[in-house]
């Protein structure tokens, strides 16, 4: 246990070194803020304790199991055996240890046991859940931004927003020129923001339209 812990420590420091190397010596001693460093260290420590230092580089050896379910037999109650063996060893004789019944009964006992070899990828599960939660989180943040923060910002920058609004109105009446218009606009890099905002406005209008037809007029999807 101790040894593994030291390994992890070394690992985390080498990562920080690597980070410095990239950034160069004259910049700040490390490229992560303090809290991030502690987080990374703790995470690495945790990973060390959990048994694998580089979880996504190789298949976790804990991800296979051979599970034998043995029903009650004579005076032995039912039991579940769980062992980490390869697929070809996944049978009652290899997994059921210690054998609860004496030698002559082993065959009869094992005949009733059902052994199943199962695999999973805990890394896939972890990554999937984290991806899912982060998308959900981003969407929620964006929703909160759109409903709470943006109206306030807009009210504060009223004049500016009116300018944009009138700009949008013109853009909307000539839909076929849009593509060309946008293309022409995007040539100058300063207008990238404008373009994003334009796309956002367009999208908002679209969603508003959808909302009207689904929730207000009940034309589609009711």
């Amino acid at each position: 246990m101790k040894r593994r812990r030291r390994n992890t420590w070394v690992e985390s420091h080498s990562l920080l070194f690597l980070c410095e190397g990239v950034r160069g010596a004259e910049t700040s001693p490390s490229c992560f803020p303090g809290w991030a460093q502690t987080l990374i260290q703790q995470w690495l420590l945790y990973q060390g304790q959990a048994g694998s230092i580089q979880p996504w580089l190789h298949q976790n050896s804990e991800d296979v199991r051979c599970k034998c379910i043995c029903p009650p037999y004579k005076d032995h109650s039912g039991h579940i055996y769980n062992k980490n063996v390869s697929q070809k060893d996944c049978d009652c004789l290899h997994v059921v240890e210690p054998m609860p019944v004496p030698g002559p009964d082993v065959e009869a006992y094992c005949l009733r046991c059902e052994c199943k070899y199962e695999e999973r990828s805990s890394v896939t599960i972890k990554v999937t859940i984290i991806i899912y939660l982060s998308i959900l989180g981003l969407l929620l943040l964006y929703m909160v931004y759109l409903t709470l923060v943006e109206p306030i910002l807009k009210r504060r920058l009223l004049g500016h927003s009116q300018l944009i609004q009138s700009d949008e109105d013109i853009g909307d009446h000539q839909p076929f020129a849009n593509a060309h218009d946008v293309l022409a606009r995007s040539r100058s890099r300063a207008n990238v923001l404008n373009k994003v905002e334009y796309a956002q406005q367009r999208w908002k209008l679209q969603v508003q339209e959808q909302r009207k037809s689904v929730f207000d007029r009940h034309v589609v999807l009711s």
Binding site: E62, R65, I69, P72, Y73, K74, S77, G78, H79, I80, Y81, N82, N84, L111, R112, E114, E118, E119, R120, S121, S122, T124, I125, K126, T128, I129, I130, I131, Y132, I135, L136, L139, L140, M143, L146, T147, D172, H173, Q174, P175, F176, A177, N178, H180, D181, W203, L205, Q206, V207, E209, Q210, R211, S213, V214, F215, H218, V219, V220, L221, S222
Partner: protein
């Protein structure tokens, strides 16, 4: 060419015999089973077409209706800058319009011909033609990969979030209950308890026993359910309203040629995927299967943008979407062949053999991707995969047919009540509060579901448990038979007497059945992603299991009866309750969706037992008969009708003695048809016509006097071309003559230059004579996917029939005496 396309989408298959049966039957029910309620429904639907189909194109835009999406007709627009031919926008469609299959397909043929011709010229062109031919398969590969990965994401996350309602894993919060206990040693009796997994009461109170712990768990369960469903409905409302519902009715309509912009877009995909997980894990009575089809179609549509061939051609794109739907079902049920058949039988409108092979490939890739993700850790694609090989006796067909009757009754009942409820939602104040509705339904579901073990678990798990045959290894309540462990050998179990656990399970299941039956009616159609397959299957599986256990006990206690004596003697294993559950599930699903072939194949792929095909077929067919006798249409068709989508049903026969002249516009007392002459109208004249009328296209004739037909021009193309010419071409003013002929007549030198618009003219519009029977016209519309058809008399143009007119006419015919319509 032979394989290129046939419209009646059963014929390519060699399933003629089946198709004939069905059609024959359909025709019978078409006339007999029209109640008053149906009449109202259809009339209402046809009123909606007038709003949704042909009329709206540009006027709505001018009213600021959807102002980013139309042609600027009112002349305010400036800065149009088209450099290349053909004009962008020509040949595209407005939102909520119908595409013209014939035109799209001929455009694709032209394109293909051009590429083939050019490929002989240079190596580069040859490469281009090869990549063009290959792009379809590449697209299928990408769709399969994406759909499979998304299905994996949905499965894993939904499983985890469902378990989150009950507790959390301390070994890693991302593990669900089963994976949390992956390594730990569990006992035979309490196999789902392990030290790593903590229920909420264990986590908060430190112990999991007692009344207070139960109440706390109950409370947490309800709170989580409410939170998940609220998040789902808020996200749907905020970002992508089109993501709600099952999506299959709309996809059916889209595949038949309707355009709903944004329905298969990026935001719909993201929001539907995310909220589907939330909705499923909130414990509402809904499934992920239907929405997965929508998700797969979104993938297909988005990936189409990578390939010019599919981006620009609406008909080609629909072929891809058909294949994507197959991939969706393939991952939803882990049934690739079933997916292909589902696409063929239920959703697709136009299904050539080429699409069949592509669907096959897409379904294969999707299933393979999902399998390699292995979301359930059981090396299967679905949670409720079962495998048993017990033989069944011929006499058991009687209970199977009973289950079929139950499935049909339930299906018809469900469709009626769900449609009634949805109409209420559509028309009354109820529809104004979607969020509140979801909140209330979730609260009721969660509060009712928790006390009953069989409703508390996720519906997929419930189905899995019901399908499962009780072995001696099972510890669930449902398998608490009176066992005699010492007398049995190996897997062979005789029928046994039910223990007290089974009786408890029976009444709990009965309660669960009642709850599912009623709550599903109110759940389907709420503004969250909601599929119908799983709840219907659950209803059927519960009913089937109940019947199965009843028959089993009957056989056990009365094995000396004459009907049992031959095959079910004492100590024999003759009744498998799991099989009854499976047959019941198939029957209920068949009753609701009216699928037959694909349903049986899906169920058979789920079980992997060839010997159960006959019971499944018997149940599916009975349930379809019973359900069709009560109500003519399946749930998806009913929803299409409710929403008034312009969907021309390919399965129904039109058998009335009307003629084209009875349907065409203009009617007897209407003003004459609006036409454009080929070489005598000025730009101003045409613009006046376009502004004054709302038709989406105009016939072009030689002259008003002769009314001889030249071709057909679409309004949108006309507007864009005139607009463009006014901007770019010199000398085009209001008095310029528009000329649709090859050689324009010489004009006096003082007059402004001529605007040539031959390129946008459709020179081969479909025409029928005024005496053509409507059955032929309807057939033409169905099989060719026409948008409009011109009617001539003695070679002179008389009128026009649009798809909308045909739909209206069919609706009228289905309700009223045809003779009264004739003089309408």
């Amino acid at each position: 060419m032979a394989s290129h396309g046939r419209w009646g989408h059963r014929e390519p298959w060699g399933l003629e015999a089946l198709a004939m049966d069905q059609k024959g039957y359909r025709r019978g029910s078409f006339q007999s089973a029209t109640s008053d309620e149906d009449m109202l429904e259809i009339a209402g639907a046809s009123m909606d077409f007038s709003m949704a189909d042909d009329d709206p194109p540009l006027d709505r835009e001018m009213g600021g209706f959807s102002s980013y999406n139309g042609g600027g007709m009112n002349g305010t627009s400036t800065m149009m800058d088209f450099l290349e031919e053909p004009l962008p926008g020509v040949g595209t469609y407005e939102d909520f319009n119908t595409i013209d299959w014939v035109r799209e397909k001929s455009r694709d043929r032209d394109r293909h011909r051009e590429i083939t011709n050019r490929s002989k010229e240079s190596t580069w062109a040859l490469l281009h033609s090869v990549s063009d031919a290959f792009s379809g398969w590449l697209l299928m590969l990408l769709i399969g990969l994406l759909a499979g990965s998304l299905a994996g994401l949905i499965d894993i996350s939904a499983h985890w979030m469902t378990d989150l309602k009950e507790g959390v894993c301390l070994a890693g919060f991302w593990f669900n209950h089963e994976h949390c206990c992956w390594k730990s040693n569990t006992t035979f009796t309490d196999r789902d308890k392990c030290p790593e997994w903590k229920s909420w009461s264990q986590l908060i109170l430190g112990h999991g026993e007692g009344a207070f712990a139960y109440i706390l768990n109950y409370f947490m369960y309800v709170i989580w359910a409410l939170m998940f469903s609220l998040l789902a409905v808020l996200l749907v409302k905020g970002f992508a309203p089109y993501a709600c519902g099952s999506g299959i009715p709309e996809i059916k309509t889209i595949l038949s040629g309707f355009i709903i912009r944004g329905y298969l877009g990026k935001w719909t995909l993201v929001i539907k995927t995310i909220t589907l997980v939330l909705a499923v894990s909130s414990g509402l009575s809904l499934g992920k299967e239907g929405p997965l089809v929508h998700v797969a179609c979104c993938c297909g549509n988005i990936l189409c943008h990578l390939f010019t061939k599919y981006r620009k051609n609406e008909a080609k794109r629909r072929e891809v979407l058909s294949a994507a739907a197959a991939a969706g079902v393939s991952v939803a049920f882990g049934a690739p062949i079933g997916g292909v058949l589902f696409s063929l039988e239920e959703v697709s409108y136009y299904f050539p053999l080429k699409t069949l092979w592509r669907s096959f490939f897409a379904a294969l890739v999707a299933a393979f991707t999902l399998r390699s993700i292995n979301p359930f850790g059981n090396s299967r694609l679905v949670l409720f995969y079962v495998e048993f090989h017990m033989p069944w006796h011929l006499l058991e067909l009687v209970p199977f047919i009973l289950l079929g009757i139950f499935g049909g009754l339930w299906g018809a009942f469900f469709i009626r009540s769900n449609i009634a409820w949805c109409r209420r939602r559509k028309t009354t104040r109820l529809g104004k509060y979607p969020v509140l509705e979801v909140f209330v339904v979730t609260a009721i579901t969660a509060i009712l579901a928790f006390p009953n073990e069989y409703t508390r678990m996720s519906t997929s798990e419930l189905i899995s448990e019901l399908f499962n045959d009780c072995g001696i290894l099972d510890s669930s309540q449902l398998c608490e038979y009176v066992n005699d462990f010492n007398s049995t050998k190996g897997d062979d179990l005789p029928d046994r007497a039910a223990g007290p656990g089974v009786y408890t399970a029976m009444w709990q299941l009965a309660l669960a059945l009642i709850m599912k039956v009623f709550i599903t009616i109110f759940t389907f159609g709420m503004k969250v992603p909601s599929g119908l397959f799983i709840p219907s299957m659950a209803v059927g599986a519960i009913a089937g299991r109940l019947l199965g256990v009843a028959v089993e006990q009957l056989a056990f206690y009365h094995h000396d009866w004459a009907i049992f004596s031959g095959w079910c003697s004492q100590g024999a294993d003759c009744i498998t309750p799991g099989l009854y559950a499976m047959v019941g599930a198939a029957a209920c699903l068949g009753g609701v969706t009216r699928m037959t072939v694909s349903l049986v194949v899906i169920m058979f792929e789920l079980t992997g037992g060839l010997e159960y095909i006959v019971p499944l077929m018997a149940a599916a067919m009975t349930s379809k008969w019973v359900a069709d006798a009560i109500g003519r249409e399946g749930i998806y068709d009913a929803h299409i009708r409710l929403n008034g989508y312009p969907f021309l049903e390919a399965k129904e026969e039109f058998s009335h003695k009307t003629r084209a002249m009875d349907v065409m516009r203009p009617r007897k007392n209407d003003p004459p048809l609006t036409v454009i002459t080929q070489d005598s109208m000025t730009v101003e004249d045409v613009e006046t016509i376009v502004t004054k009328t709302t038709y989406s296209g105009y016939p072009v004739v030689v002259s008003r006097a002769s009314q001889r037909l030249v071709g057909f021009v679409l309004r949108r193309d006309l507007i864009i071309s005139i607009e463009n010419a006014r901007k770019k071409q010199d000398g085009i003013v209001s008095t310029s003559v528009i000329c649709f002929t090859d050689y324009c007549p010489p004009l006096p030198p003082s007059s402004p230059s001529v605007l040539k618009l031959r390129s946008i003219l459709d020179l081969s519009p479909f025409t029928v004579t005024d005496e053509t029977p409507m059955e032929i016209v309807v057939d033409i519309f169905r099989k060719l996917g026409l948008r409009q058809c011109l009617v001539t008399h003695n070679g002179k143009l008389l009128g026009i029939i649009t798809k909308k007119d045909v739909l209206k006419h069919i609706a009228q015919m289905a309700n009223q005496d045809p003779n009264s319509i004739l003089f309408n």
